[in-house]
Amino acid sequence: MELRSARADVIALSVVVVLGALFALYFVLPLAGLGARAASDGEVWELASSEAVRSALVLSLWTSTLSTVLAIVLGTPVAYWLARTNVRGRTALDALVDLPIVLPPTVAGVALLTAFGGQGLIGGPLAEATGIRLTFTAAAVVMAQFLVAAPFYVRAARSGFAAVDQQFERVAYTLGASRVETFLRITVPQARGALLAGVVLCWARALGELGATLIFAGSLEGRTRTMPLAIIDAFERTSLGLSGAVSMSLILLVVAFVVLVVFRLATPGTSSR
């Protein structure tokens, strides 16, 4: 078949449409499955209002929010520096920041243990000196979430800052604006879209974090059992089984969706620049 012919275009278009439909379907079906199960299974709604679910949800929401806030506070200066610097080790540093993204979460959890666990590089001396032990605490949950989720924000912020033409910053300097003022009044507003996208990505990743949390923070209702851990826990208990897991999955989905929508509405003007 001639690649140049109009027929090729028609075939190509059909292929794209079919593949696209399959792709979309593949994402819709699991959600439909959850919905169908919830509709047919009466237990799902009872379990939804249980104490276990409520504590898991509250824990999930505040830990993921805190992790995200930390990511913004600590990650923004780093992202800006990475975007502007020409230091020779820059590529290595970029890779380092990106590393947690490719790390399997369980590996991240093990790594956290070796660093901050009771016998860890930092954790050991810390426990000896102050008696503070980080594992099995809500702080550990935040640490695990931060490790896996912050890089998403830093990456997005970095590329957002890099996309801001330095001419604007230079002109701002000549107009008497300090570097800080320029950053806040010129660079950040122009990188807005990327920053907000990064925040959303980071928060979502923190909310869904499972592997590292399980290994580093453990799983205890009310203290370290976030929604994803609660879902796994429910799934593996014959007393709750799949019904419990479905119930919590739906709740998590709905809550996440609502938060995302509210976030989008509350931050106008973030359509693509």
Partner: protein, 370 residues
């Protein structure tokens, strides 16, 4: 006191940049090809770049001195800097842009911004977004923003290059008016010769990181210091010659066999010495008759071998009938028609001795006019 004293050296790509000049209550134009170091000069003055070595003073205040380690950041140099791309902040209104650098309360900023906008004929545009403005309007906003801080020194980097001719004319006029009104010192970068001539009180000709000549506009145009400056400033006829004889206040030179009489330059070249002559294409006169018949010096018979019609005038290329160099002549359209150059192709060219500028020879110069 409104002045700039500039002296700097640094690396510029493959070249070594070394420039010294000054500006005082006037327009100094930095002129030259791209990459010659003109923008670099503005950036160093504004403080966005640190030269390896040098000394820069703005309004009597030292802002950079490599010897003592003094290097004020751009925030403290009090210059108005307008870049070629203008860099109007897209997320702010015109009013916010113009008021950006003004110190004080929000009310102060707005008041000052409105003042400047009025001055530049932009009342009513306060709440517009920069993206919704035309090229000329954006230019004015950029100017207003730079001027809002009441700075003594304005640095403009090819600000009008993206605009069409009529708009440029308008803005140039406005710039000159502003300069006069505000008593500014302006350093203006351009690669457009006409613009350079129009705006400059003094002109610095840049080439490969160096200033070849820095002088009043007329001097640079009439008396370029070297072949390169002559070429850069649009002198079409640069000819190699050798001195034949020395006379009273004048010398006779030989240009490819043609004898010309020119004023004796300051360094009084000896007989046999090589020199170079610069003659602007628009200074050559077309005469009827023959050199012998007319009996004046600096006449040569020639015929047109090439012609370019530019609408407002013609550029003609002449080949001498006897000895002598090829010459380029610029003739406005009316004289061209009146003289009937269309039909008559053979002329006697008059090379006025006051327009024949003698320069020292450059290294490796060859015969030109061609």
């Amino acid at each position: 006191m409104s002045s700039l004293r500039y002296d700097a050296r640094m690396r510029l790509g493959p070249f070594e940049y070394d420039a010294t000049f000054e500006a005082d209550g006037e327009v100094v134009v930095l002129f030259g090809h791209s990459g010659a170091g003109k923008s670099l000069t503005l950036q160093a003055t504004a403080g966005l770049l640190t030269p390896r070595e040098g000394h820069i003073e703005i309004a009597g205040r030292t802002v950079f001195d490599s010897a003592s380690g003094m290097n004020l950041p751009p925030q403290d140099r009090n210059t108005g800097y307008v870049v070629q791309e203008l860099a109007l902040f897209p997320h702010m209104t015109v009013l916010e842009n113009v008021g950006f650098g003004v110190r004080g309360t929000r009310a102060d900023r707005e008041r000052q911004a409105r003042l400047l906008l009025e001055r530049l004929g932009l009342e009513g545009y306060e709440d517009r977004a920069p993206g919704s403005l035309s090229g000329g309007q954006r230019q004015r906003v950029a100017l207003a923003r730079a001027l809002a801080r009441e700075v003594p020194l304005l640095l403009l980097d090819e600000p009008f290059s993206a605009l069409d001719e009529s708009l440029r004319r308008t803005l140039r006029a406005e710039l000159l008016r502003l300069r006069a009104d505000l008593g500014l010192t302006v350093v203006f970068v351009t690669h457009d010769l006409r613009e350079a001539h129009l705006l400059a009180d003094r002109l610095a000709v840049f080439d490969r990181g160096r200033i070849l000549q820095f002088d009043r506009r007329e001097e640079v145009f009439r008396h370029p210091v070297s072949r390169r400056v002559a070429e850069l400033t649009g002198v079409s006829n640069v000819m190699a010659a050798s001195v034949l004889a020395r006379l009273e206040g004048a010398i006779e030179v030989d240009v490819d066999g043609l004898v010309l009489r020119v004023a004796d330059p300051a360094w009084h070249p000896a007989v046999g010495e090589r020199v170079e002559l610069a003659l602007r294409a628009e200074r050559i006169n077309l005469r009827r008759g023959t050199p012998a018949g007319l009996g004046e010096p600096n006449l040569v018979e020639a015929e047109v071998v090439e012609e370019h019609a530019y609408g407002a005038g013609h550029t003609l290329r002449f080949r001498p009938l006897g000895a002598g160099p090829h010459l380029e002549v610029d003739l406005p359209s009316r004289p061209y028609e009146v003289l009937g150059v269309q039909e008559r192709r053979r002329w006697t060219l008059e090379l006025p001795s006051e327009d024949l500028h003698v320069m020292r020879p450059s290294e490796g110069s060859t015969s030109t006019g061609g």
